[in-house]
Symmetry: C2
C-alpha cells in the first residue's frame, strides 16, 4: 500500500518538477540540471512534506511548489557532494554522476542553478498566505545552509579519512540530512495550518525519522544489494567514514534504528488515520532495501 501510494505521489511530483524546470536557454545548463533532477530520485522530501500536510488535516497536493523546491535542494547537494573536491563519486543511483557527464565546472553550475531554482520555485507557490510562505521558505533556507546541510557537509569534509566520535557523527547527520527532513515535515504542517501541539508532535516525528533514516542508510551500506542501492557496498568503510555501524556494530545500529522508529510512532499518538502514511513510512525504514 505504501509502495502504491509512493508511486502515485512520485508521478505527481515528477510531472510538477518537469513543468517547474523545463528545458530552456541556455541549453547546456538546463540539460545538466535536469539530468540529475530526473535521475530516479525517490522524492522522499516532497512526499514527506505532502504527507505531513495531510496529517495536519490539509491537502498536501496543494503545496507542490514548496515540495518541488525541496527536491531541487536535495539534488543540488548530491551533485556538489559527488564532485572530485568532495566525495569524488562516479556513480549515483546507478548512473554516472553529474560531473562525469558534464564536467566539473558545469556540475558546480548545475548545483548552483538548482539551489537558486529551488527558492524561485518555492516562492512561486500559489494559494498560500505570503506571510506563511516567507516563514516556511526561510526555515528551509536555514535547514539547507551553514547551520544545516552545508555545515554538516563541511564537518564531513574535514572528518574525511579519520574516525569521529558519536557526538560528532550525530551532529553531522542531523545537519546533513536530518535538517532538511525536519524542514520538509514542518513546512507541510505549517502550510496546512497545524496548531502548535500538532506542529510540535510532527517536529518530534521528523527528528526521529531523520535519525532512523540515517542509521538504516549506514546499515544498507554494509548489508545492501549493490544493484538496489545504486552504489558499491562497503563504500563507507573503503572511504574510512565513521558510521553508526562502525561505531556501534551492526546489532547496535539495528537497535538504535528500532528505538528511533518507536519514538517516531509514539510522537504520532495524538493523530488518527490522517497520519497512517507517516506511520507506514517510518516503519518501512526498518525493512528498506534501497
Amino acid at each position: 500500500m505504501l509502495k502504491e501510494y509512493c508511486r502515485r505521489q512520485i508521478e505527481l511530483i515528477d510531472r510538477a518538477l518537469d513543468g517547474m524546470l523545463p528545458q530552456a536557454y541556455p541549453p547546456a545548463i538546463y540539460e545538466a540540471m535536469r539530468y540529475s533532477l530526473f535521475a530516479g530520485g525517490k522524492r522522499l522530501r516532497p512526499i514527506l512534506l505532502m504527507a505531513a500536510a495531510d496529517a495536519a488535516g490539509g491537502d498536501g497536493r496543494k503545496y507542490l511548489h514548496v515540495a518541488g523546491g525541496l527536491e531541487m535542494i536535495h539534488t543540488y547537494s548530491l551533485i556538489h557532494d559527488d564532485l572530485p573536491a568532495m566525495d569524488n563519486d562516479d556513480y549515483r543511483r546507478g548512473k554516472l554522476t553529474n560531473h562525469k557527464v558534464f564536467g566539473d565546472g558545469m556540475a558546480i553550475l548545475a548545483g548552483d542553478g538548482l539551489l537558486t531554482a529551488a527558492f524561485e520555485t518555492m516562492l512561486a507557490q500559489p494559494g498560500v498566505d505570503p506571510a506563511a510562505l516567507v516563514t516556511v521558505v526561510r526555515e528551509v533556507a536555514v535547514a539547507a545552509g551553514a547551520a544545516g546541510m552545508v555545515g554538516g557537509q563541511a564537518v564531513d569534509l574535514q572528518a574525511a579519512g579519520r574516525e569521529v566520535d558519536g557526538e560528532t557523527l550525530r551532529y553531522m547527520h542531523r545537519a546533513k540530512t536530518g535538517a532538511l527532513f525536519r524542514a520538509a515535515i514542518r513546512s507541510g504542517a505549517v502550510l496546512a495550518g497545524a496548531p502548535g501541539d500538532k506542529l510540535a508532535a510532527l517536529t518530534e516525528y521528523a527528528e526521529q525519522f531523520g535519525l532512523a533514516f540515517q542509521i538504516t542508510d549506514d546499515i544498507l551500506d554494509v548489508t545492501g544489494d549493490e544493484a538496489k542501492i545504486g552504489k558499491p557496498v562497503g563504500s563507507d568503510e573503503k572511504n574510512c567514514k565513521s558510521t553508526y555501524v562502525s561505531l556501534y556494530s551492526l546489532a547496535g545500529a539495528r537497535d538504535m534504528a528500532a528505538a528511533a522508529v518507536s519514538a517516531a510512532l509514539a510522537s504520532l499518538e495524538g493523530f488518527g488515520s490522517e497520519a497512517a502514511v507517516l506511520r507506514e513510512f517510518v516503519n518501512y525504514l526498518l525493512t528498506r532495501d534501497s
Copy 2:
C-alpha cells in the same frame, strides 16, 4: 561627494552584513564564507538597491536585509567563478581567492552557504509587506539562476578559449552581471513602492548601467592599474576571452560606454534631485579606475 556617500553606505552595509552572518558553528564554514564576504567588496549592488529606493521616494536604509542578500549572492558567484574548474584565478581584489586559502571543497561549500544565507537573509527583511517581499526575492532568484547569472557563467564556461560574436557577448554579460544589477535596482524601487512609470524608468536605467559597467570593466582590464583593479592587467586577452575591447577596439568600446551612460541619464529625466546619486553613479563609470 559620491566617494563620501559610498564610504558611508559601505560602513552601514558592512556592519549589517557582520550582524547577518556572524561567526558561528561549525567554525570552518563560517570562516570561509566570511573571508570572501569581507574581502573588500565595493558593495555596488546593495548601494544601488538603496539608491533606487531613495530615488523612488523611499528610504533605502530600511532594506538592508535584501541589500545584504544581494552582496552574499555576488560574493558566492565570485568564489565559484574563481575555482580551478571554472576561471582558475588565484587572486581577487588583491587577496588570495577562497579556494587557495580553504581548499576547493570548502570553497564550493562556502559559495553554497552564502547563496543559501542570501535567501535566508532577504526573507528576514522586517518592515515590508510579505507579498511584496515574496515578489522581490523571487525576482532576485530568477536573476541569479539559470536564466541569469548561472546561465551566463555556463555560456562563458563553454566559450572559454574561443572567440564569440557580439550578440553572444551581450547575452553573456546581460546574464552574468546585468541581471543582478537590474534586480538590485528594481528591488529597491518595488520595496519603496515606486509606481509603474518610475519602475519602468529605473529598469531602463539599470539595463544601461549594467551595460556601461561591463564595457568599462573590459576597458579597465586593458588600461587599468594592477594595484587598483586587484588582478593582472591583460588577463582577458591572456585567457583568450572575447571582450568589448577585443571585438570593437578600445575607441569603439569607449564610444559604446558613453552611449550607455547617456541613455541611463536620459531614463532619469522624470526624476529630480532624489535621483542625483544614480546620476553620479553612472557618470563615474566613465572615469572609474577600479
